[in-house]
Amino acid sequence: MRMAIVGAGWAGLAAAVRATEAGHDVTVFEAAGMPGGRARSDDASDGATDNGQHILLGGYTCTLGLMRSVGVDVERALLRVPLRVTYADGAGFALAPTGPRLLAAARALLGARGFGLVDKLSAIAMARDWRRRGFRCPPSMTVADLLHRAPTELVRRRLVEPLCVAALNTPMAEASAGVFLAVMRDSLFGARDASDLLLPQRPLNPTKVDQYIADHPGWSKILDAAGFFDVFAAPWFAATYLLLFISLIGCVVPRLKAHGTAMLSAPPAVPRRLERLPSADSFSAGGTPEQVAAGSVRRLRGWKTVTRVEDGGVVTVAAEKGYLRETGNLVFHAALVVLLVGVALGKLWGYQGTVLLTEGQPGICNAVPLYDSFRPGKLVDGSGLAPFCIDSLDKFSVDYDPDGTPAQFRADITYSLGENGAARKDVLEVNHPLRVEGVRVYLVGHGFAPRFTVTKPDGTGVKNLSAPFLPQDPRTLLSEGTVKLLDTVKPQLALYGTFAPFAALGPDGKLTSLSPQPGNPGVAIQIYRGDLGVDDGAPQSVYTIDQRQVAIGALKQVATAQLIPGKAVTLDDGTKITFDGYSQWATIQVNHDPGQTLVLWAAGAVVLGLLLSLAVRRRRLFLRITPAPTPNSETVDNSAPVDDGARPDRDARSVVAVGGLARTDAGSFGTEFARVVEQLRDPSPVRKD
């Protein structure tokens, strides 16, 4: 085709290059004396004044790609320097070109000169706002509109405006906010998730791991060999917690013995000088030392007491309380070991199976080959799984709040237990799994599966041809997928494209979705005909077509169409493809963890043991009761037997020295000590109950 392009600026030249590559005959018309448009060198001079790119950021991958495609050696033609915005008065900031981008951006902002704390905070809030929107905005928004909310005047004038004018060569009031945000995203904030600081983990996100290895080829090999991309499976991690638990057991067992001995043995002997203890008091009581001791022992209910007699008629009482503390401590630590055992049980004999079920289509039984993905424990070989089938997904529905956010997801399923169990119905919701036969069934995802009817020119055809489409945008559920008509007689058909629950046309003419509520479903499909390549035994994704078949010409795109329910497209050979509507699909997950209940009980014991070990205090109380000399008595008859029931001898008096200490956390023992002393002082007889 012969093509004329008006204007030799970046846009015109880029179009010219691409058109020439596509094989067209291109002529470019330019009014100025040299190419370049707004980025050209000065007309009048000898080209020494270059009005070219104010900044060329590393994120301009298309620009750099274009330069490379016309033979420019970008690495040698351009000098790579940190992005620097500086003013004559010394204010400004510099952004390092390499390294984790979020960290570099944060460092640049914190080190920026000439900006106050409020400015920096407002810049952070603005950046956070952009990230929250996914660096997207309505197409007609300008950069000035974008800034109406957040930043201070200084940030607007000295940070955003220079970047906008430099990158887009357009004033803020006219520059496209969408383009500006794209530049910010690619250049300053890295890819969608700028967490180069933390190492991605294979079990969570294998794609990110591969990306990280590609980005940091040098030391990634060492990290990978040392198991840093799957830390929880690494031997050194296992060694850490195994050694910790061995040392834990090694500590608990001797202490258990020591505690047992302590519980069985008597409190220690009473010290000579009780006034040296942290809490000490003394008072005089009526009665002989034995009577006073007996009375005190009765009042010290709950304490373990032992009464000893010393020379000179002195009676001592040693009391101890708070053994529950150590008991709780041992229960806590032992429960941790039991908890680990429960976790191990689950990891060895548990499994997790995930399957995608579409409304109205047959379900699965609990068998390994029927799941879409199955993660078994180490000792699970697939036999002996609980006999249980999900017969079908009857209906999937979403309740929406008035403002359009989902309130609850609901999947109505029919299931049966055992070999020939009766069909039962249940509703799966988020937070309400089905618990049956030792397995738990969860609803974990949902989406749409568009339905088509294909009618061949000879009248035969297939009704209700559908396939699940995977959501690409979690908020609007715009989904992508392929419906394949796998005739054994070629040519086969594949319908590859996007489905929108609430269809609208985007500014680029492409199908987009405004809402996840399927109020206006629509599809945009490319229809391929030929050999899908499913017969050679190699696996291929059900969601896409095999591009190699397209590359070798065995599969050709024959039409494209944008359809709403009821509309059809007719191919050149008379085949009619009608878009009937959609079904919904739900991803169901079946989990089995035999150690779970044990872990729960162990966790309960952990909390209980912890409470006891921190709340109960071990304390000791000592009484040293010496006979006080009374005016009337010459000697005290110590050989008289102790008689509890006897009325205290009015004439005999004793001096009671009390001392106490708390073995841990002495703080509030003082009040308890005072209270106990008050109790001991109390002359009224103790009621026997």
């Binding site: 700028a194 989902p406 988020v430 937070n431 799994p433 952990v606 909390v607 073995r663 956390d665």
Partner: protein, 337 residues
Amino acid sequence: MPVNAGLATLSDHMFTWSIILYSLALVAYCGEYAFGRRGKVASTSPEQVLVAAGAAPGPGAPAVKSVSAPPKRPRVRTPQAERFGRVAVAATVLGLAVQLTSLTLRGIATHRVPWGNMYEFASVVGAAAVIAYLVVLIRLPQVRYLGMFLLFPIVVLLFLAGTVLYAPAAPLVPALRSYWIAIHVTTISIGTGIFLVSFVATVLYLVRRRWEISVEAGRTPTRFPVTLGSRLPVTDVLDRMAYRTVAFGFPVYTFGIIAGAIWAEAAWGRYWGWDPKETWAFITWVVYAAYLHARATAGWRGTAAARVNIVAFATMIFNFFIINMVVSGLHSYAGLT
């Protein structure tokens, strides 16, 4: 049910007012600090500092010498200090009442418990810390002016919550609509608030300790953070405050993690999946357990244990801010993404 916009706006206004009241309380605490303790107070004179404590029970001598603190100590309080102190406590209590009202209104406006995103969670943590402080105040009235040191990070936290972390009142995503949110998130936020109080007590402990070491060596400290030590309570009181709050908060936090695991089993299919937030909550738990162990170990009592407490709190802050905002995982209910 739609969000009640009027109540939501009122809630936001009351939140702002609570920050203002806490800031006023902060200023009043500074006044009490500045005007109090003129002249020598018995327990802070250098001679007293050198007296070895006889009050250390249990086996093994304590590693640090510190002045024993009898429960009732004579303090020199000037009338201005007393007035400032009373105003400060009144402002704190009033600020707490306003903040709790703000949370309640938010809950009524959204027809759910008011801790469903980072902003609300930070508000609850701040309120829990203030309540913990007031409880400590009832038992140890002489530490009233320490409210200055505690309210400062709380005001910063609430300010960040209202600006950087703010999310408008909205209903919860389906995964959060469960009664477990009242159990798990509540206990975690209360535990965090209590640990915040412990952190402040630990920092003050370290400052006071540095001051006592200088005084023992005969030097008068002149550099700023250390000079604060002259008006702080003795290390024993601060250490005990730090320990007691952790001893109270640790079981609460443990229970919170376990409640989270039980909820995860109902919502996500497994009770523990090493999701980043789960992992870092576990790390925080382990470091606080290390603090409790350190405090009971002969060579680690005192400054070393205090440092462990600081590390534990740092992991908690990391868990709260970085994990919510930077790393993606199942726990991304911050309201920011």
